[in-house]
């Protein structure tokens, strides 16, 4: 099994990408390639839906680090949704993601993004 990468219709400054299969030595380059054009836009969030991801290794962790680093200069974040047990275990073992950047569902991540978006709008209004 390889890696399926599904790019959803982009939202306002946010992009959801669903991953299915395995993110490892054999597939991380496919993900890096698929994300490259998205990361050059000024996204405030890249939401990786991991519901269908079965396995991750250090090569996959490095891809997530790379994406996070690419978005950080303009304050963008990488959010992870619904990591399965093997994925959660590996994320924990390398302390790969702050707890507030992992969500149990896309609805939960959307609610968080709405709050962030509102804060940005309110901050703009204050100017």
């Amino acid at each position: 099994m390889s890696l399926d990468i599904e790019l959803h219709t982009p939202g306002k400054g946010s992009q959801r990408v669903a991953l299915r299969g395995r993110l490892d030595t054999h597939t991380y380059e496919d993900l890096d390639e698929a994300l490259a054009p998205l990361l050059s836009r000024h996204l405030h969030s890249l939401v990786l839906d991991l519901s269908g991801l079965e396995y991750i290794s250090s090569a996959g962790i490095r891809s997530i680090f790379k994406a996070r680093k690419a978005l950080s200069p303009h304050g963008g974040k990488v959010l992870l949704v619904n990591p399965q047990p093997q994925i959660q275990k590996v994320l924990d073992m390398v302390k790969a993601v702050p707890l507030n950047e992992i969500f149990s569902s896309t609805a939960e991540a959307d609610a968080y993004l709405d709050v962030m978006q509102r804060r940005i709008i309110e901050a703009d209004d204050d100017d």
């Binding site: 054999h26 396995y55 290794s57 250090s58 073992m93 390398v94």
Partner: protein, 145 residues
Amino acid sequence: MQMRLFIPREHARVDDLNASLEAVLANNGVSRAIQGDVRLIVEELASNAIEHGDVARVGAEEHELCVDIAIRDRLLTLEFRESGAPFNPLEQPAPDLDADILDRPTGGLGLHLVRQVAEMAAYQRMGNYNVLRLSLRIPTEEDPA
């Protein structure tokens, strides 16, 4: 259950090796969680050997990676053998997991994962070979770990 598998030092063959191991483990009633741990150990060690192994020192007849797997009394053991310069994966420095999240080192993560997942790990230099033995306890159904 006991078996030995050899593969050439190529990334694509590591996937084949893991597919074979997964089938064997599934046939022996090993849980998906343990299958995932074995896949992780094999991928990280094999990738490391392929990327960092000193191929110039590896003779053609010794070019393969060898993995022995055995299950006995709810203990799964893996023996990983490769020829090349002496390299003890258990003595490599741990990555700095508390570094700033944006500035995290990307090296050393794989071997760190291997050390974390394995219950026991021991390294031995035997002739021209680096030999790493690892074991994982297979939880019984009454005793989920």
